[in-house]
Amino acid sequence: MKEFELEPGEHVVLEARKHWFLFLVEILPYAIMGIVPFALPKLLVLAPPMAPYVALFDYHTILGRAGLGIWLLVTWTSAWGAFTRYFLNAWVLTNQRIVDIKQRAYFSRVVSSLFLSRVQDVTTTVTGVLPSLLGIGDIKVQTAAEDIEFVMHGIPRPEQMRDVILKYVSIDPKSTGV
């Protein structure tokens, strides 16, 4: 990570990103877009009034092949862009602080640090059947100043993350170099 330099004696404890299931949900529209050009001709055949339109999906012509190629290229590139944004959003926990990296869009990046010595409360929230089964939840870290709080949505195993944060919060501040 180039956004922040580790202080002497500081080391990365863990990195967290959104749960993989939420990423799959995010790229589901692209998967559907990728299937549409192959599924649509088969579905049109099932509806007799629409059957003549099947001829428009002939991918053996130059125009059809180029159209399919462009469609798949746009779909693939969009899905890859979604993965890039997913990967660039992260929480990094070091033995001294929590770094929240938000990549809202390309060229729009916010990196904030919260020193563990200021942490007063860590709250995890898991709501719903699927999040409970898959271990997806939110984690909120608050400081003594009421207006400062870090929230990360949809992270895997939030309780485990909370325990790790509290473990490093409870370490004597002198040893953290703060």
């Binding site: 009034p49 003549p52 125009l63 092949r65 180029a66 399919l68 890859w80 993965f83 660039l88």
Partner: protein, 92 residues
């Protein structure tokens, strides 16, 4: 209720008939493809810049970029010539 069956339309053929002489449908398709590839190149350059700047140390960075280039070039080749290399067996 429709009282007549739907008829397939054919805009590409109709539009291509208005092209100036010497400017064939093949040339038109090629230019459209090159325009799309130019947008792809700009988008990819921006994404690669972010990977290299912020996640160059991650083991995911280079495989992710390599996968993007391999699959994109195969799809471009398919659009231009019908040969999609390792993806050929999955495409019509």
């Amino acid at each position: 209720m429709l009282d007549q069956p739907l008829q397939p339309f054919s805009p590409p053929a109709a539009l291509l008939s208005y092209l100036p002489s010497g400017f064939t449908s093949g040339v038109a398709v090629s230019w459209v493809l090159y325009a799309v590839f130019a947008f792809w190149a700009i988008y990819t350059a921006v994404a690669v810049y972010h990977w290299m700047k912020y996640s160059h140390a991650s083991w995911v960075a280079f495989p992710a970029m390599a996968a993007h280039f391999f699959i994109s070039f195969a799809l471009m080749s398919y659009a231009l010539s019908g040969n999609a290399f390792f993806l050929t067996s999955y495409l019509p």
